[in-house]
């Protein structure tokens, strides 16, 4: 167990577990802290699709210390396109600003990777904006390297 400072409440044991409906208010607040947007409908929709261990292929986990949610991570096993083998895919990760640099993200990533292994895949991937230095640096620090893919886009006329 590691300890994280929980919003002025002092250090408390950190526990990573599947999200529950009662956590969603804090999850939405953590995301809004970073993005400035309260995406209530989006997170309720994600909860219904990914929450509470609905399948082994979909994971929506939170890191909790005391009764405070310090961060969350969302991922799933994707049957990858263009001939690649299925892999774990992380598409959401956020840690409360006051709880950063305490290993919360690392604990959640480890937990989601354990879930992916349990679901039978041995590779984890993610996709980020090039200018998202904070999260890019985090994934790099966890040993992630450039994948053999190039993201492409074009303007639709």
């Amino acid at each position: 167990m590691i300890r994280a400072e929980a919003q002025g409440a002092g250090p408390a044991e950190l526990r990573v577990r599947p999200v529950e409906a009662a956590d969603l208010g804090q999850v939405i607040a953590i995301d809004a802290e970073l993005t400035g947007l309260e995406k209530t409908d989006y997170y309720y929709e994600l909860f219904h699709r990914y929450g509470a261990g609905r399948t082994r292929q979909r994971l929506f986990l939170v890191a909790e210390s005391g009764d405070v949610i310090q961060g969350f991570i969302i991922g799933e096993v994707r049957d990858w396109e263009f001939g690649s083998a299925p892999c774990g895919w992380v598409f959401g990760l956020s840690v409360r600003a006051s709880a950063r640099l305490a290993g919360v993200g690392a604990r959640m990533l480890k937990a989601v990777c354990d879930g992916f292994r349990h679901a039978g895949v041995n590779k984890v991937r993610t996709l980020l904006a090039r200018d998202n230095g904070l999260v890019l640096s985090f994934f790099r620090s966890q040993g992630m390297m450039a994948a053999p893919f190039i993201p492409l886009e074009k303007d639709l006329d």
Partner: protein, 157 residues
């Protein structure tokens, strides 16, 4: 993207010092290890010293030691002390915009450079040290496996 010799030497030096933060090493020692001239390396170390990444140690043996923060410093922070790659464009790589072909080649080169810059920005010295350690371990494991394989075992004489 090709980095200048001074930049490469700065990266080698900073990582060498950061891997052994308590230890001091001379310019000659690092120059010999990486096949550079002591004079050139001394100039690089002076620049790193001015930026606060290394400090010179007085007394017997002299030399330099690391004085930066491995968790905060990125490869880009070191590179930009020696060359400005932030504004590098396809044009500066030799493709000018006076022809359609030059413009198109410049656009592709600029795309490659942007990915390189994002990579340098996202990797801290701490992450590099972990990568170095992982590669060292992998090489050792491969060597151990090769030595332990039946073909490489010498018969008892």
């Amino acid at each position: 993207m090709k980095l200048q010799k001074s930049t490469s030497l700065a990266l080698y030096s900073v990582l060498e010092f950061a891997a052994n933060p308590g230890r001091q090493a001379s310019a000659a020692e690092i120059a010999e290890k990486y096949g550079a001239s002591t004079h050139h390396l001394a100039k690089v170390l002076r620049e790193l010293g001015r930026a606060g990444l290394v400090e010179s140690a007085r007394g017997v043996g002299g030399g330099y030691r690391f004085s930066g923060n491995t968790k905060r410093l990125t490869l880009m922070d070191v590179i930009e002390l020696f060359e400005n790659i932030s504004t590098r464009t396809g044009k500066s790589e030799g493709f000018d915009g006076s022809s359609d072909v030059g413009r198109a080649l410049g656009a592709v080169t600029a795309e490659v450079d942007e990915i390189a810059r994002a990579t340098f920005r996202s990797i801290t010295l701490d992450t590099m040290l972990k990568l170095i350690e992982r590669q060292r371990r992998a090489a050792t494991d491969a060597q151990t496996a090769a030595e332990g394989s039946p073909r490489s075992k010498r018969p008892n004489v």
